[in-house]
Protein backbone atom coordinates (compact mmCIF):
# COMPACT_ATOMS: atom_id res chain seq x y z
CA UNK A 1 0.00 0.00 0.00
CA UNK A 2 1.56 3.28 -1.11
CA UNK A 3 1.85 6.34 1.11
CA UNK A 4 0.61 8.56 -1.70
CA UNK A 5 -2.85 7.12 -2.00
CA UNK A 6 -4.79 8.04 -5.03
CA UNK A 7 -8.17 6.46 -5.44
CA UNK A 8 -9.45 7.06 -8.95
CA UNK A 9 -13.24 7.05 -9.29
CA UNK A 10 -14.64 3.75 -10.55
CA UNK A 11 -18.14 3.35 -11.81
CA UNK A 12 -20.50 1.62 -14.12
CA UNK A 13 -24.05 1.39 -15.31
CA UNK A 14 -26.61 -0.58 -13.32
CA UNK A 15 -29.22 -2.14 -15.59
CA UNK A 16 -32.38 -4.15 -14.97
CA UNK A 17 -30.29 -7.14 -16.06
CA UNK A 18 -27.83 -6.34 -13.24
CA UNK A 19 -30.71 -6.25 -10.77
CA UNK A 20 -32.27 -9.46 -12.12
CA UNK A 21 -28.91 -11.24 -11.91
CA UNK A 22 -28.46 -10.06 -8.34
CA UNK A 23 -31.97 -11.32 -7.48
CA UNK A 24 -30.97 -14.75 -8.77
CA UNK A 25 -27.78 -14.91 -6.75
CA UNK A 26 -29.21 -13.46 -3.54
CA UNK A 27 -32.70 -14.99 -3.64
CA UNK A 28 -34.25 -11.55 -3.11
CA UNK A 29 -37.03 -11.34 -5.70
CA UNK A 30 -39.03 -8.52 -4.14
CA UNK A 31 -41.29 -7.00 -6.84
CA UNK A 32 -39.80 -3.57 -6.12
CA UNK A 33 -36.56 -4.93 -7.62
CA UNK A 34 -37.70 -7.31 -10.36
CA UNK A 35 -41.29 -6.47 -11.41
CA UNK A 36 -41.37 -3.20 -13.38
CA UNK A 37 -45.17 -3.10 -13.47
CA UNK A 38 -45.65 -3.61 -9.72
CA UNK A 39 -42.76 -1.26 -8.95
CA UNK A 40 -44.28 1.46 -11.17
CA UNK A 41 -47.26 1.53 -8.79
CA UNK A 42 -45.02 1.88 -5.71
CA UNK A 43 -43.83 5.08 -4.07
CA UNK A 44 -40.56 4.68 -6.04
CA UNK A 45 -42.34 4.75 -9.41
CA UNK A 46 -40.18 1.97 -10.84
CA UNK A 47 -37.72 -0.75 -9.96
CA UNK A 48 -34.72 0.01 -7.75
CA UNK A 49 -31.50 -1.88 -7.15
CA UNK A 50 -30.86 -4.03 -4.08
CA UNK A 51 -28.72 -2.26 -1.45
CA UNK A 52 -25.55 -4.32 -1.97
CA UNK A 53 -25.50 -3.41 -5.69
CA UNK A 54 -25.05 0.25 -4.77
CA UNK A 55 -21.86 -0.72 -2.93
CA UNK A 56 -20.12 -2.43 -5.83
CA UNK A 57 -18.53 0.75 -7.20
CA UNK A 58 -17.25 1.61 -3.70
CA UNK A 59 -15.58 -1.79 -3.30
CA UNK A 60 -14.03 -1.47 -6.74
CA UNK A 61 -12.60 2.00 -6.22
CA UNK A 62 -11.12 0.91 -2.88
CA UNK A 63 -9.55 -2.33 -4.13
CA UNK A 64 -8.37 -0.86 -7.45
CA UNK A 65 -7.13 2.31 -5.78
CA UNK A 66 -5.32 0.46 -3.04
CA UNK A 67 -4.02 -2.22 -5.42
CA UNK A 68 -5.43 -5.10 -3.37
CA UNK A 69 -7.55 -8.02 -4.50
CA UNK A 70 -10.05 -7.69 -1.67
CA UNK A 71 -10.60 -5.61 1.45
CA UNK A 72 -8.99 -7.37 4.42
CA UNK A 73 -10.87 -8.78 7.42
CA UNK A 74 -11.21 -6.01 9.98
CA UNK A 75 -12.41 -3.52 7.35
CA UNK A 76 -15.22 -1.33 8.65
CA UNK A 77 -17.68 0.34 6.32
CA UNK A 78 -20.36 2.65 7.71
CA UNK A 79 -22.84 3.30 4.92
CA UNK A 80 -25.77 5.72 4.81
CA UNK A 81 -28.14 5.00 1.95
CA UNK A 82 -29.37 8.32 0.57
CA UNK A 83 -31.23 7.70 -2.69
CA UNK A 84 -32.28 4.66 -4.71
CA UNK A 85 -30.31 3.32 -7.68
CA UNK A 86 -32.55 2.82 -10.73
CA UNK A 87 -32.00 0.88 -13.95
CA UNK A 88 -29.87 2.94 -16.32
CA UNK A 89 -28.12 4.83 -13.53
CA UNK A 90 -24.35 5.23 -13.81
CA UNK A 91 -22.99 4.91 -10.29
CA UNK A 92 -19.49 6.16 -9.59
CA UNK A 93 -17.60 5.89 -6.32
CA UNK A 94 -15.29 8.63 -5.09
CA UNK A 95 -13.00 8.31 -2.10
CA UNK A 96 -11.18 11.21 -0.48
CA UNK A 97 -7.61 11.16 0.74
CA UNK A 98 -7.36 9.34 4.07
CA UNK A 99 -8.77 11.34 6.97
CA UNK A 100 -6.79 9.62 9.65
CA UNK A 101 -3.85 7.31 9.84
CA UNK A 102 -3.84 5.93 13.33
CA UNK A 103 -1.36 3.16 14.10
CA UNK A 104 -1.52 2.00 10.51
CA UNK A 105 -5.30 2.26 10.24
CA UNK A 106 -6.59 4.30 7.32
CA UNK A 107 -9.92 6.09 7.33
CA UNK A 108 -11.57 7.45 4.18
CA UNK A 109 -14.75 9.35 3.49
CA UNK A 110 -16.35 8.07 0.31
CA UNK A 111 -19.56 8.36 -1.66
CA UNK A 112 -21.31 6.81 -4.61
CA UNK A 113 -23.04 9.29 -6.89
CA UNK A 114 -25.26 8.85 -9.93
CA UNK A 115 -25.17 10.60 -13.32
CA UNK A 116 -27.18 13.52 -11.87
CA UNK A 117 -24.54 14.04 -9.15
CA UNK A 118 -27.02 12.77 -6.55
CA UNK A 119 -25.39 10.83 -3.72
CA UNK A 120 -26.88 7.35 -3.62
CA UNK A 121 -24.81 6.55 -0.57
CA UNK A 122 -22.10 8.02 1.61
CA UNK A 123 -19.64 5.95 3.58
CA UNK A 124 -16.79 6.07 6.02
CA UNK A 125 -14.32 3.26 5.46
CA UNK A 126 -11.63 2.17 7.93
CA UNK A 127 -8.98 -0.30 6.85
CA UNK A 128 -7.06 -2.15 9.57
CA UNK A 129 -3.38 -1.40 10.06
Amino acid sequence: MSDALSLPPVGGVVTQATIDAYAELSGDFNPLHVDPEAAAASEFGGTIAHGPIALQALFRTLTEGLGVEALPPGTQIAVTYRAPVRPGDVVTAHAAEPLARDGGELTFEAACVNQDATQVLSARVTLPG
Copy 2:
Protein backbone atom coordinates in the same frame (compact mmCIF):
# COMPACT_ATOMS: atom_id res chain seq x y z
CA MET B 1 -43.93 -2.02 10.91
CA SER B 2 -45.03 -4.00 13.97
CA ASP B 3 -44.09 -3.08 17.51
CA ALA B 4 -43.24 -6.69 18.26
CA LEU B 5 -40.40 -7.06 15.83
CA SER B 6 -39.25 -10.53 15.16
CA LEU B 7 -36.51 -10.95 12.61
CA PRO B 8 -36.20 -14.61 11.67
CA PRO B 9 -32.74 -15.63 10.51
CA VAL B 10 -32.41 -15.81 6.73
CA GLY B 11 -29.55 -17.47 4.98
CA GLY B 12 -28.32 -19.38 2.04
CA VAL B 13 -25.35 -21.07 0.45
CA VAL B 14 -22.78 -19.01 -1.42
CA THR B 15 -21.26 -21.00 -4.28
CA GLN B 16 -18.51 -20.29 -6.81
CA ALA B 17 -21.38 -19.76 -9.27
CA THR B 18 -22.73 -17.02 -6.97
CA ILE B 19 -19.31 -15.37 -6.92
CA ASP B 20 -18.84 -15.70 -10.70
CA ALA B 21 -22.29 -14.19 -11.29
CA TYR B 22 -21.47 -11.30 -8.96
CA ALA B 23 -18.19 -10.73 -10.83
CA GLU B 24 -20.17 -10.43 -14.07
CA LEU B 25 -22.63 -7.93 -12.68
CA SER B 26 -20.09 -5.84 -10.76
CA GLY B 27 -17.15 -6.02 -13.15
CA ASP B 28 -14.87 -7.13 -10.30
CA PHE B 29 -12.95 -10.09 -11.72
CA ASN B 30 -10.07 -10.14 -9.23
CA PRO B 31 -8.42 -13.59 -9.34
CA LEU B 32 -8.95 -13.93 -5.58
CA HIS B 33 -12.67 -14.15 -6.38
CA VAL B 34 -12.83 -15.96 -9.71
CA ASP B 35 -9.60 -17.92 -10.29
CA PRO B 36 -9.45 -20.94 -7.96
CA GLU B 37 -5.87 -21.81 -8.97
CA ALA B 38 -4.46 -18.32 -8.39
CA ALA B 39 -6.52 -17.93 -5.20
CA ALA B 40 -5.18 -21.25 -3.87
CA ALA B 41 -1.70 -19.71 -3.90
CA SER B 42 -2.87 -16.61 -1.96
CA GLU B 43 -2.91 -16.09 1.79
CA PHE B 44 -6.61 -17.08 1.73
CA GLY B 45 -5.87 -20.51 0.22
CA GLY B 46 -8.82 -20.35 -2.16
CA THR B 47 -11.42 -18.06 -3.65
CA ILE B 48 -13.47 -15.77 -1.42
CA ALA B 49 -16.70 -13.88 -2.04
CA HIS B 50 -16.85 -10.18 -2.84
CA GLY B 51 -17.78 -8.05 0.20
CA PRO B 52 -21.30 -7.12 -0.95
CA ILE B 53 -22.22 -10.83 -1.28
CA ALA B 54 -21.68 -11.28 2.45
CA LEU B 55 -24.35 -8.61 3.05
CA GLN B 56 -27.11 -10.28 1.08
CA ALA B 57 -28.38 -12.39 3.98
CA LEU B 58 -28.45 -9.30 6.22
CA PHE B 59 -30.54 -7.34 3.73
CA ARG B 60 -32.92 -10.28 3.37
CA THR B 61 -33.45 -10.83 7.09
CA LEU B 62 -34.11 -7.11 7.56
CA THR B 63 -36.56 -6.72 4.68
CA GLU B 64 -38.31 -10.04 5.29
CA GLY B 65 -38.40 -9.50 9.05
CA LEU B 66 -39.69 -5.96 8.74
CA GLY B 67 -42.10 -6.84 5.94
CA VAL B 68 -40.76 -4.20 3.57
CA GLU B 69 -39.65 -4.53 -0.03
CA ALA B 70 -36.44 -2.58 0.45
CA LEU B 71 -34.64 -0.63 3.16
CA PRO B 72 -35.66 3.04 2.95
CA PRO B 73 -33.33 5.93 2.08
CA GLY B 74 -31.75 7.12 5.31
CA THR B 75 -30.89 3.59 6.40
CA GLN B 76 -27.45 3.41 8.01
CA ILE B 77 -25.47 0.17 8.09
CA ALA B 78 -22.11 0.05 9.87
CA VAL B 79 -20.43 -3.21 8.89
CA THR B 80 -17.25 -4.78 10.22
CA TYR B 81 -15.95 -7.56 7.98
CA ARG B 82 -14.56 -10.29 10.22
CA ALA B 83 -13.84 -13.37 8.11
CA PRO B 84 -14.00 -14.28 4.43
CA VAL B 85 -16.95 -16.08 2.84
CA ARG B 86 -15.81 -19.08 0.80
CA PRO B 87 -17.61 -21.17 -1.84
CA GLY B 88 -19.88 -23.67 -0.10
CA ASP B 89 -20.38 -21.52 2.99
CA VAL B 90 -23.90 -21.19 4.33
CA VAL B 91 -24.26 -17.61 5.52
CA THR B 92 -27.12 -16.77 7.86
CA ALA B 93 -28.03 -13.34 9.17
CA HIS B 94 -29.31 -12.80 12.69
CA ALA B 95 -30.69 -9.53 13.99
CA ALA B 96 -31.39 -8.80 17.64
CA GLU B 97 -34.41 -6.98 18.96
CA PRO B 98 -34.07 -3.23 18.46
CA LEU B 99 -31.54 -1.61 20.78
CA ALA B 100 -32.96 1.84 20.63
CA ARG B 101 -36.12 3.46 19.41
CA ASP B 102 -35.45 7.15 19.25
CA GLY B 103 -38.09 9.35 17.67
CA GLY B 104 -39.19 6.48 15.46
CA GLU B 105 -35.64 5.42 14.54
CA LEU B 106 -34.85 1.77 15.11
CA THR B 107 -31.35 0.45 15.80
CA PHE B 108 -30.42 -3.23 15.58
CA GLU B 109 -27.27 -5.19 16.19
CA ALA B 110 -26.91 -7.91 13.58
CA ALA B 111 -24.40 -10.43 12.33
CA CYS B 112 -23.87 -12.86 9.49
CA VAL B 113 -22.41 -16.20 10.56
CA ASN B 114 -21.26 -19.20 8.57
CA GLN B 115 -21.96 -22.92 9.10
CA ASP B 116 -19.11 -23.08 11.65
CA ALA B 117 -20.72 -20.30 13.71
CA THR B 118 -17.90 -17.96 12.70
CA GLN B 119 -19.01 -14.36 12.28
CA VAL B 120 -18.26 -13.25 8.74
CA LEU B 121 -19.50 -9.77 9.56
CA SER B 122 -21.16 -7.83 12.32
CA ALA B 123 -23.32 -4.79 11.78
CA ARG B 124 -25.29 -2.07 13.44
CA VAL B 125 -28.32 -1.03 11.42
CA THR B 126 -30.35 2.13 11.96
CA LEU B 127 -33.63 2.59 10.13
CA PRO B 128 -35.02 6.11 9.85
CA GLY B 129 -38.21 7.00 11.74
